[in-house]
């Protein structure tokens, strides 16, 4: 268990800056996800924490001690790689035993032939065998110990990689997109297993993924990273519901949040597609984006905005209606909880949303505060309608 503190971390490859000053403290025993689109620098950050890559500037502290210049092997962190990085020539048993052998045996004891003859070797090997078997049992891979990685399925390799990571009880686990090579069904299953593993081990987990669903479902906190910067760090609910930046709002949540072109009027009211909303903002007048999650779009005859149904996505338990509207480049997506009540393709419909569903962002993409405009003459507050 370890607390990991990252201070003003920068990393540049030649002239391209990959990390532009990252500050975050990862609590002891926490499960934090680093999430962001590909190329945002999240894997680089993980590799710097692991020590596989030096930072250009800034500092990393593990348990309040700086680890700059400390070799990866001495940091006592374990990493699970996207490609699993199992040693193909070693059996599953030997793969899991590698970190233990490296730690408990001296170079001479590891040597072939001579090593076998040294007195302590047998006893240490017995201890290693017991530890490997315990971990294999925990991960339900005991029957695979004699196999080579090439004879395993993707999910089994994944487990072996996790086994190799947990066997030596490191201070923290680093996961580098460990599920992205698995098929969709197995991925969902492994999500639950990794979350369960975290509850069991109670160790610090740093989990890098580009899949916001993984981050949302598994972690205690999410750090959204875009363009080499940590834009927002918070609980999954906070990230989803209270995004500080339009990039966070757009990255988190599927389907993507609806983003309407809008305006802050002189009197502080928000305006979307020519309709004045029942929402006000203390922000200065000017252009803005008004964002609303698909589940907050209400299709009703009284809705003030209108469009035609251009596409329907029925997922069985829910459905998404894509509504093409005048003045919008992309269709507005609305979630329908009951797929049996879908409008017809091509039908003209009206829609609206409540004022508290509005997340508004200024021209620079920063969040601007909004509040429902006081109205007493209508019992139900509908922002547009």
């Amino acid at each position: 268990m370890a607390e990991i503190e990252i201070r003003a971390l920068r990393k540049a490859f030649d002239s391209t800056e990959v990390l532009k000053g990252v500050d975050v403290t990862i609590e002891e025993g926490e499960f934090i996800s680093l999430v962001g689109p590909s190329g945002c620098g999240k894997s680089t950050l993980l590799r710097i924490i692991a020590g596989l890559e030096p930072q250009s500037s800034g500092e990393i502290l593990i348990d309040r001690a700086s680890v700059d210049g400390v070799r990866p092997s001495a940091r006592n962190l374990a990493m699970v790689f996207q490609s699993y990085a199992l040693y193909p020539h070693l059996s599953v048993f030997d793969n899991i035993a590698v970190p233990l052998r490296m730690k408990r045996l001296s170079t001479l004891e590891r040597a072939p032939l001579i090593g076998q003859l040294l007195p302590g070797r047998r006893r240490i090997e017995r201890g290693i065998r017991a530890d490997v078997e315990r971990v294999a049992e925990q991960l339900e891979i005991s029957s695979l110990l004699k196999r080579k990685p090439g004879q395993l399925s993707g999910g089994q390799r994944q487990r072996v990689a996790v086994g190799r990571a947990i066997v030596r009880q490191p201070r923290a686990f680093l996961f580098d997109e460990p599920l992205s090579n698995l098929d969709a069904k197995l991925r969902v299953h492994m999500r639950a297993e990794i979350a369960q593993l975290h509850r069991q081990l109670k160790t610090t987990f740093i989990y890098v993924t580009h899949d916001q669903a993984e981050a949302m479902t598994m972690s205690g906190r999410i750090a959204v990273m875009i363009g080499g910067e940590l834009i927002q760090v918070g609980t999954p609910a906070a990230i989803y519901d209270d995004p500080h930046d339009i990039r966070v709002a757009e990255f988190v949540g599927t389907p993507k949040i609806n983003s309407f072109p809008g305006k802050v009027r002189g009197d502080g009211r928000l305006e979307v597609l020519g309709h004045v909303l029942q929402a006000t903002t203390p922000s200065v007048a000017g252009d803005c984006r008004v964002c609303v999650r698909p589940e907050r779009i209400e299709m009703s005859a009284t809705g003030a905005l209108s469009g035609t149904v251009v596409h329907l996505e029925n997922l069985g338990s829910e459905a998404f209606v894509h509504i093409g509207s005048a003045g919008m480049d992309t269709p507005v997506v609305a979630r329908v909880n009951d797929p049996r009540q879908l409008p017809a393709l091509g039908a003209a419909i009206s829609y609206g949303f409540a004022p508290d569903a509005v997340r508004a962002f200024d021209a620079g993409g920063k969040r601007i505060a909004t509040s429902a405009a006081p109205r007493v003459d209508r019992p139900r507050e509908v922002a547009v309608g």
């Binding site: 590799r47 692991a50 020590g51 596989l52 070799r71 990866p72 092997s73 001495a74 962190l77 374990a78 990493m79 790689f81 490609s83 990085a85 199992l86 040693y87 193909p88 020539h89 070693l90 590698v98 970190p99 490296m102 730690k103 170079t107 590891r110 080579k148 990685p149 090439g150 190799r164 030596r168």
Partner: protein, 316 residues
């Protein structure tokens, strides 16, 4: 050449296997088409490889002399004579010694240089080219250069030794050192080729295995080499060892140019014996028998490679 000798069996089996896999009414026609399609390769192989090979084996049972109008079948007499001949045994022993020195030397140095070049950051292309030059250069010409370098009076090697305050030596003229001098040239010539193969093998080792090794506690370069590099190079190493061994068995150019097997047979090798018997004393039958022994060695090396190769190759 030995690789090809085992191939026709496999080729001939293929059409039959196909016909069995698809038993149809047109089976007869199908297999005829299959034979027709493999025929060009089969004919070429018979003409270029199997034919000459059978010819050499047949020749080794005759007393044919180069240019002679007739010959007689003499059974195993050539082999009897050969196994009784002291020169043949010296030649065989020298060849095996040469292989035993050159193969480990060229493989270890080739690997070492490949590792150095791979771990370096700059001038990789330059170093690669420099070490590969001996492979591209004509060995006969290079042998003459070596002759000058090893010259007892004005050679560069002895010159350097003198400068360092050491005694010079008649490297190629001394029975004790002639073969080993040839070994050094052999290593120098072969290591560039091995280096290129090892470099290709090193490049194909996934980078993330080294990352995993680092995190697993392999802190020293040696432990990473033992854990990742060496096992992952297994297939390449096997190939390099066998190719080096076959090429060392074939050593001839340097012997012919520098020592002609001397002094007093101390650097006589199999191919040189074959050449001398066949083209200097015109005893083609006897030379063919020496060739058959040579082929047996090369063939067994190829077999070892294919057996080990099947067992020891692991890919992720």
């Amino acid at each position: 050449m030995a690789d090809a000798a085992t191939a026709p069996g496999g080729m001939a089996a293929a059409p039959g296997a196909r016909a069995r896999a698809f038993p149809t009414l047109r089976q007869a026609g199908g297999s005829r088409a299959a034979y027709a399609l493999t025929a060009p390769a089969l004919v070429l192989m018979l003409l270029m490889l199997i034919g000459p090979l059978a010819g050499v084996i047949a020749l080794s049972f005759t007393d044919y002399q180069l240019g002679a109008p007739s010959f007689a079948w003499i059974g195993l007499s050539n082999y009897q004579e050969m196994f009784a001949d002291r020169v043949f045994w010296i030649s065989l022993k020298n060849t095996l010694t040469y292989v035993a020195v050159v193969v480990p030397g060229a493989v270890a140095l080739g690997l070492g240089i490949a590792l150095l070049i791979q771990s370096g950051t700059g001038l990789r292309g330059l170093y690669r080219t420099i070490y590969f030059l001996p492979v591209m250069a004509t060995l006969i010409a290079m042998a003459i250069v070596w002759e000058f370098m090893l010259h007892p009076q004005f050679g560069l090697v002895n010159g350097l030794l003198h400068a360092a305050g050491l005694q010079g030596h008649s490297w190629l003229q001394d029975r004790a050192t002639a073969l080993y001098a040839l070994c050094v040239i052999g290593i120098w010539q072969a290591l560039g080729f091995n280096m290129v193969l090892f470099l290709a093998g090193l490049v194909s080792i996934p980078k993330h295995l080294y990352d995993a090794a680092e995190l697993d506690g392999a802190a020293s370069a040696w432990s990473r080499f033992r854990l990742v590099t060496w096992p992952m190079l297994g297939p390449v190493t096997l190939f390099v060892v066998v190719i080096s061994a076959i090429r060392s068995f074939q050593v001839f150019d340097t012997v012919q140019v520098l020592t002609k097997g001397g002094p007093s047979k101390s650097s006589e090798v199999l191919i040189y014996t074959m050449y001398a018997e066949g083209f200097e004393f015109f005893r083609s039958g006897y030379a063919a028998a020496v060739t058959v022994v040579f082929l047996a060695f090369v063939l067994s090396l190829t077999l070892i490679k294919s057996v080990l190769g099947r067992r020891d190759v692991h890919y992720a």
